[in-house]
């Protein structure tokens, strides 16, 4: 979570070095729109600071011949109550082109925050983003089918938020047991 691993520098494992090389290409293209690289050995990642650039970055990551991140393994919503933020974490990798993997974080404010949707870039993001919305309540701009997916359509609240209070009744059925 913090950047304590950054000074690890040249003793980075090979997999992290690959991610770093991929990150450098993105950084070169987008400059201050992306944060510094976090050489976390279990999951190297960077953050998209300028969220309005997220779709461009995603397209660049998917299509640039040096990157070719064509496979989005996972997209998870996360709650950051201390920073008053919500976010998503995308685990990306390249099938059939390169061996590198990287994670990307995108954050938005907690109340009424929104993140541009990348479901046009990776189809798999469609359902994952719906799930993140369902569980955390951030909206995804430009999502083609922005609905809840796992909870019922008329459920109140977002269950995975840290401050979630379950509703007392749902259609006359007592909820908390």
């Amino acid at each position: 979570m913090d950047n304590g691993m950054e000074e690890a520098g040249n003793i980075m494992p090979a997999a992290v070095q690959e991610s770093k090389a991929a990150y450098d290409i993105i950084k070169e293209r987008f400059g201050s729109a992306v944060s510094e690289f976090d050489a976390n050995p279990t999951m190297p990642f960077f953050e998209v600071v300028d969220t309005s650039k997220w779709v461009d970055i995603a397209l660049f990551m998917r299509d640039d011949s040096r990157l070719k991140f064509n496979y989005m393994a996972c997209l998870s919503g996360v709650d950051y109550p201390e920073q008053n933020q919500l976010g998503i974490v995308c685990n990306l990798e390249s099938i059939g082109h390169h061996t590198h993997r990287i994670a990307v974080k995108v954050k938005c404010q907690r109340d009424g925050g929104s993140i541009p949707s990348v479901s046009c870039v990776w189809h798999t993001a469609n359902w994952h983003e719906r799930e993140a919305y369902d569980m955390y309540g951030m909206t995804f701009d430009g999502h083609p089918d922005h609905r809840r997916i796992l909870c019922p359509e008329d459920w109140t609240g977002y269950p995975l938020r840290k401050d979630y209070q379950v509703q007392e009744t749902y259609h006359g059925i007592k909820v908390p047991y």
């Binding site: 979570m1 913090d2 976390n40 279990t42 999951m43 990642f45 064509n70 496979y71 989005m72 393994a73 996972c74 998870s76 919503g77 996360v78 709650d79 974490v89 685990n91 099938i95 059939g96 994670a103 990776w122 189809h123 798999t124 469609n126 359902w127 994952h128 569980m135 809840r148 997916i149 796992l150 909870c151 019922p152 269950p159 995975l160």
Partner: protein, 400 residues
């Protein structure tokens, strides 16, 4: 070209073209009908509802509705400690509990930096490969039922019972094992385990062949599946398909090879992909074939593990399990190859608590199913059944 049917007043013609695509002739004016398939329907493999907009016998659009089995696994994870999550992972993919447990334990172990005893690693691989065979047997058997072949189902379940007996013997449970623990196993295997697994392997080899004869070489089965629901490799990757689904589209991608874990790098096995001889690459039959071939590979893996597994006198399978499981602060995405594809766990630890801050399960079926809308466009309703069956969904894992 083959004409399949005519609607009233002969204004519509449904044609199956040479490349197997079904085409409706233009300027027709039929009424669309909404057909709700499920949540209780024998061919949706659980409580999945498909809202199909149909034009006669052709599906214009099929929208899946899920969540009927949603238990908010991820919320539970924030309430119980790390070892306590293992039983919940069983209940995600209840046909492949061992594999899901393994994926979860791998993820946590990456944060913990524990050294796993070699014997434990081999036992883990054996049980998860056994479970893979059991799971594929259900997939193949129920797929047969979907397409009207009842006998293979009985054969599959008879053989699966042998595996469940073995797994029950070592863990005490038939399906929800809680056997693979973080850093070890709940128990070492019983004394005769190797012998009985070896017996099973010799027993099952000819049975797998028999199954191939019953289904894969069955003319009716092939007619129903070949060329149905074709998914090109590029689109499959974009949909993040994994496992037999992705390999069915001809992409040689297997986490046991491409992101190796446990002792898989030491083992010799093939990653089978269809070559277009028996099926059109990417169709339902390809996905079925990959599952059938994978069972053979799993048998190979099990045999090698039985050979290589070290015998340790007075072995304690819990020796490497930390007293208190409190991973260092950080985040990890750990994953493993499930029978249905990639199961991954994204875990965030704050370094202080014995509970994860966040534990997201990336479910293979959830992702595989998300392509349903694209796959079903323009298919006939009976073909829709063939497509759902080939995706091999377990709703417990889709809804979590």
């Amino acid at each position: 070209m083959q004409e399949l049917g005519k609607a009233e007043l002969n204004s519509t013609r449904i044609i199956r073209q040479n490349d197997n695509r079904v085409v409706i002739e233009k300027d027709l004016d039929t009424e669309y009908m909404v057909l709700s398939m499920g949540p209780q329907h024998p061919s949706t493999h659980g409580v999945l509802r498909l809202e199909c907009i149909t034009d006669g016998e052709v599906v214009v659009e099929a929208e899946p509705y899920l969540g009927y089995l949603h238990r908010c696994f991820e919320k539970y994870c924030e309430k119980v400690d790390y070892p306590g999550i293992v039983p919940y992972t069983d209940r995600m993919d209840y046909l492949a509990g061992m594999n899901t447990e393994l994926a979860y334990c791998i993820a946590v172990e990456k944060l913990l930096d524990v050294e796993i005893p070699r014997r434990v690693e081999f036992i883990r691989v054996i049980v998860s490969e056994l479970n893979r065979i059991a799971s594929h047997l259900v997939a193949i058997g129920t797929y047969g039922i979907d397409l009207g072949a009842f006998t293979p189902f009985l054969f599959c379940f008879r053989d699966r019972e042998h595996i469940l007996n073995l797994l029950e013997w070592i863990s005490g449970a038939r399906m929800l094992y809680n056997y693979i623990w973080i850093g070890g196993l709940s128990y070492d295997v019983p004394a005769d385990f190797k012998k009985r697994v070896a017996e099973f392997v010799t027993y099952f080899r000819p049975k797998a062949l028999e199954l191939q004869k019953l289904l894969t070489e069955n003319e009716i089965f092939v007619k129903r599946t070949k060329g149905v629901g074709i998914m090109p490799a590029e689109v499959a990757i974009n949909y993040a398909w994994s496992g037999p689904m992705l390999r069915g589209s001809g992409v040689k991608w297997d986490l046991r090879r491409n992101d190796p874990y446990s002792v898989y790098p030491e083992l010799d096995f093939e990653v089978p992909v269809p070559d277009g001889r028996f099926s059109d690459i990417g169709d339902s039959l390809s996905r079925h074939l990959v599952r059938a071939w994978e069972m053979d590979e799993s048998l190979k893996i099990i045999e090698q593990c039985l050979d290589k597994m070290p015998e340790v006198e007075g072995f304690n399978s819990r020796s490497a399990i930390p007293k208190k499981i409190r991973p260092k602060a950080g985040e990890v995405y750990g994953r493993a190859e499930n029978p249905r594809g990639e199961v991954g766990f994204y875990i965030v630890s704050d370094g202080k608590s014995t509970k994860p801050l966040r534990c997201k399960a990336r479910s293979s079926c959830f992702v595989n199913l998300s392509a349903m809308k694209d796959l079903s466009k323009g298919q006939l309703i009976p073909d829709l059944v063939a497509i759902i069956g080939s995706i091999d969904i377990v709703l417990g894992e889709v809804d979590r």
